[in-house]
């Protein structure tokens, strides 16, 4: 239907086709590049885990357990409306194997009975302890303390957000090392030994250590510790299990080896207290305070030309309840994407800046191009293919090819993550669980991944709009507690 005779429709047609194929080819190359980088990181992770993954022997653990030379650690646990799970999770944290540690729970003005539950369950008294740190925070109402060998300190404060709660914990504790843990998480019994190992090996340079987070849904929990590891009955939880494996083992090991790790999970990360105080503590204004702190530490330390290491260690595992409802998951992913954008935007000075070494030239651009803009490009790819089909610019076979390539890339990456787990840590005891994970790795690419892409794009749009964050509260199902006989 050519309405105007003076227009050369063939030329327009050719132009449209050319522009279209330029975009389509760019997207295919983008997917190709991201796939190759992921694959390279997976190969590095495989080789590095085989070389460096050396858990302590039983004799060594006993020596560490008895040694007064072990540095003191404070577990900093920010809590907001956690009455349902805090008894179990804090109880588990008090039963860890480590000679010298305490647990600092910060009740960030909870509206439920979090404080009352903690005070009555652990028989706490009002303490004379005061904050000695220098970070500016919302006021503390009262500090409670237990007189047990492993001390539990509960700080009741005015609501100020998660970052503010962690900063209060940093101000009150005097331990040289702190581990930030989510209050709904369960830590493995020997996790502190493995978490502190990089610091023990290089105490002068290591300023932060990241651990692994896994999904606890439907695992058996006894006395606050994971007793039996198994996959969940929920597909959504299993999809996330695979996603976590891929993210932690695939990406972080490689980045850590290059000393350009930009994310340490807020659910489980060890920091040198002095270093965090020097960096100014966790940022209140951002939603991804964990990533922001790590990027800021890189920024500051590289700016001052100081030698340092921020590392990831695969063995210490923290189990956390992942959302099983799409509504909560959507909220969580939108928040994460917003956090990613905010962290990267704040430190945009580092983008392709050779002053910041490998962080500026590789890690930061990788996060901007692939992690932040990735969902946008993926969605654009889907849209272009659909439009191409609708306007008959591309043949249906090419469209099918594009979709299948994109899905198969996802499947390969998910399976690589599960394989890495199988070859290195092999935590899932039965082959049935491994098979479930493999199947989930395949199935997540049909719908679930696309859903995540849409939510991440929405998160990005929220970030552009400047939407502010909150505590990101999640509906708790509670742990699968084994009946005590």
């Amino acid at each position: 239907m050519h309405y105007f005779s003076f227009i050369d429709y063939t030329a327009i047609d050719i132009l449209v086709h050319r522009v279209y194929f330029f975009f389509e080819s760019t997207i295919i190359f983008y997917v190709f590049a991201i796939n190759l980088i992921y694959f390279l990181l997976t190969v590095i992770a495989f080789l590095a885990l085989r070389k460096y993954h050396q858990p302590f022997t039983t004799a060594e653990r006993e020596l560490l357990m008895k040694s007064p030379l072990m540095p003191k650690i404070s577990l900093i646990v920010p809590a907001y409306n956690e009455a349902a799970t805090c008894r179990e999770s804090v109880g588990g944290m008090l039963r860890l194997n480590y000679p010298n540690y305490d647990v600092v729970v910060i009740n960030d003005g909870s509206k439920d009975k979090t404080l009352e539950t903690l005070v009555s369950e652990f028989r706490l008294y009002k303490s004379s302890r005061v904050a000695t740190g220098t970070l500016t925070t919302k006021p503390i109402r009262q500090i409670y303390e237990s007189s047990d060998p492993v001390r539990l300190i509960v700080i009741d404060k005015v609501n100020g957000g998660k970052a503010d709660a962690i900063n209060v914990g940093l101000n009150v504790t005097t331990s040289p090392l702190v581990i930030v843990v989510d209050s709904d998480s369960l830590i493995e019994r020997d996790a502190l030994f493995t978490m502190v190992k990089p610091y023990l090996e290089d105490p002068d340079r290591v300023i932060a250590v990241g651990g692994t987070v896994r999904a606890v849904n439907d695992c058996d929990v006894e006395y606050g510790l994971v007793k039996q590891i198994r996959t969940s009955h929920s597909h959504i939880a299993n999809f996330q299990s695979v996603e976590y494996l891929r993210a932690f083992f695939g990406g972080r090991v490689g980045f850590s080896l290059m000393n350009c790790l930009l994310i340490i999970s807020g659910a489980f990360g060890l920091f040198k207290r002095d270093a965090v105080l020097e960096a100014g503590g966790f940022e209140h204004d951002t939603i991804g305070e964990d990533m922001e702190l790590v990027v800021r530490m890189h920024h500051m330390w590289l700016d001052k030309n100081r030698d340092y290491r921020i590392v990831y260690t695969a063995t210490p595992v923290c189990w956390t309840e992942v959302p099983q409802s799409l509504k909560i998951l959507k909220r969580q992913r939108k928040r994460w994407q917003r956090g990613l954008f905010e962290s990267l935007w704040r430190h945009r000075e580092m983008f392709f800046n050779p002053r910041f070494g490998i962080v500026g030239m590789f890690a930061f651009p990788y996060f901007v191009i692939f992690e932040m803009l990735g969902p946008l490009v993926e969605m654009l790819g889907y849209l272009l293919t659909i439009l191409g089909l609708m306007f008959r610019i591309i043949a249906p076979e090419i469209a099918i090819l594009f979709f299948s390539v994109s899905i198969m890339f996802g499947i390969v990456l998910s399976i690589s993550g599960v394989l890495l787990e199988e070859f290195t840590l092999a935590r899932y005891p039965s082959w049935r669980h491994s098979v479930t994970l493999f199947i989930s790795g395949v199935l997540e690419n049909f719908g679930f991944r696309q859903l995540l892409t849409i939510w991440r794009v929405q998160g990005l749009i929220d970030a552009f709009k400047g939407k502010k964050g909150d505590w990101g509260a999640m509906e708790r199902r509670g742990f699968n507690v084994v009946k005590k006989t």
């Binding site: 080819s25 295919i28 190359f29 997917v31 190709f32 796939n35 190759l36 694959f39 390279l40 190969v43 590095i44 080789l47 085989r50 070389k51 460096y52 050396q54 858990p55 302590f56 022997t57 004799a59 060594e60 020596l63 560490l64 008895k66 040694s67 007064p68 030379l69 072990m70 009002k126 303490s127 004379s128 005061v130 000695t132 007189s147 005097t174 190992k197 610091y199 023990l200 090996e201 105490p203 340079r205 080896l257 030309n305 030698d307 050779p354 002053r355 090419i398 090819l401 390539v405 198969m408 890339f409 499947i411 390969v412 399976i415 690589s416 394989l419 199988e422 070859f423 092999a426 082959w431």
Partner: protein
């Protein structure tokens, strides 16, 4: 020719490749980058070599995969997909898919293999043990053992290490020779496995061999790139040095040298060796530690040595400690002060109870001026150490100074002072009681808490 990649060489290479006009375009940026790269400390990671190997291997694997992808694209996929990008993507995908499948099969077979090995070990270990016991007692030759080693080397290795650990005298010598003849010592020396437990056991086995075989191998392992292997080697050497009086020509590292090597190592090594070195604390206090404390100039090893002595909890006569109390570094002064209560306990191993008590008292009196000077120190770390020393020595003359510390604005110091007062018997407790009724509410709370915690500690000690 040395091909070791160094930062300098890389920088030179980078400069040569760097276009000459760029500095003129971005003068401030360029000079900033250059200044920073020159200022950056020239520290090469301890495991730089290991990390480079990992990267090199990964890059080689990727290159091999890319080459295969390209070959597949040229020869297979481009025939039915004419566009280049989708053809390349499909080739890449197919290769990765095959790799993932191979991985899956390998994962399954590894699990199966482990199960099979466990079953086989349960069946074979008693048999090997039986023959090994007979060999150790010289009741049979090594022919059967050689046969078993050839067929089941893994299980044989486990049994031999077990036997070396438990045998002594002639039997151990005999088994050492067997290990040497079968080439197991070489395997242990080169740590042929990645499994850390097996590595540690191999290092332990080396320490149990006759010294000619084991000690040189252990000394070589002190330079290993894994901290845990270094720690295990040092630990094994400490055990050898403690067990046998080795002549200098056969063993380069005596106990003082091992102590020096330990405190120069990372915290992990120190933690793992502290209890083994503790067994030799007295001999080290006479020969090794004093010389080290006097000669060492850098703060790191000095602090490590002080921490190590503190964690031994032994009353050691170390005269050179006193000189450290005037050290310019406050952390070293604090470390030396924390040892004061332990030092006072040294009363000699001989003599009657009363004379030993007398010695402790005189030691304590000689340390009091040092503690007082610590309490008057301007540095908070030193003051805190002096408070714990004063509490440990329980000297009434320090009470006014401790009370002064309790009244300071520094809450951390004040609570430490309260705790010290609570442990110092009735005079200290009297001061705390007066604070409880004082105007400073925070100090009162701290006093109550200190009294309660000391009471609790006493009660639990009484119960124990």
């Amino acid at each position: 020719m040395n091909f070791q990649p160094t930062r300098d060489r890389a920088r030179r290479l980078g400069l040569r490749l760097f276009p000459r006009f760029l500095p003129s375009l971005f003068p401030s940026w360029f000079s900033d980058v250059m200044r920073r790269s020159q200022d950056r400390p020239q520290i090469v990671s301890q495991d730089f070599h290991g990390q480079s190997v990992v990267f090199l291997k990964a890059v080689l694997v990727m290159m091999a995969i890319l080459a295969t992808v390209w070959a597949m694209h040229r020869n297979v996929t481009s025939r039915w997909i004419h566009e280049v990008p989708p053809s390349l993507a499909v080739s890449c995908l197919m290769i990765q898919f095959v790799l993932a499948l191979v991985g899956l099969v390998l994962s399954g077979s590894t699990k199966k293999r482990d199960q099979r090995r466990q079953r086989r070990a349960a069946h074979l270990l008693p048999l090997i043990r039986h023959h090994m016991a007979a060999y150790a007692l010289q009741a049979q030759g090594d022919a059967e053992l050689r046969r078993l080693h050839q067929r089941h080397s893994r299980e044989f290795d486990v049994c031999l290490r077990e036997f070396l650990n438990n045998a002594s005298g002639q039997a151990r010598h005999h088994l050492s020779q067997l290990a040497g003849n079968l080439g197991l010592v070489e395997d242990w020396k080169h740590l042929a496995t990645r499994d850390h437990t097996a590595r540690t056991e191999a290092i332990e086995a080396l320490s149990l061999l006759s010294t000619d075989l084991g000690v040189p191998a252990l000394e070589a392992l002190i330079e290993h790139d894994s901290t845990l292997v270094r720690a295990a080697a040092l630990k094994a050497l400490v055990n050898v040095a403690g067990r046998e009086n080795l002549p200098a020509d056969r063993c380069k590292m005596d106990l003082p040298a091992l102590f020096r090597a330990t405190i120069s190592s990372s915290l992990l090594v120190r933690v793992l060796l502290a209890s083994d070195l503790r067994c030799h604390a007295h001999s080290l206090a006479q020969n090794g530690i004093p010389q080290l404390l006097l000669a060492e100039r850098s703060a790191g090893p000095l602090l490590a040595a002080l921490e190590m002595i503190e964690c031994w909890r032994y009353g050691l006569p170390i005269e050179s400690l006193h000189s450290l109390l005037h050290h310019s570094n406050p952390r070293i002064r604090a470390g030396a002060l924390r040892l004061a209560p332990l030092e006072s306990l040294h009363a000699g191993s001989n003599g009657a109870w009363t004379s030993q008590r007398q010695a402790v008292r005189s030691n304590t009196e000689s340390l009091v001026p040092l503690v007082i000077s610590g309490l008057l120190d301007s540095d908070v770390t030193v003051k805190a150490a002096a408070l714990s020393a004063a509490a440990g020595l329980n000297v009434p003359s320090t009470l006014p100074l401790i009370e002064h510390c309790a009244d300071t604005a520094d809450q951390h110091l004040a609570s430490l002072a309260c705790l010290a007062l609570a442990t110092m018997g009735p005079p200290g407790r009297a001061i705390l009681n007066s604070k409880i009724h004082g105007a400073n509410a925070r100090l009162a709370a701290s006093a109550v808490e200190s009294l309660a915690s000391v009471q609790l500690a006493n009660a639990s000690a009484f119960q124990a």
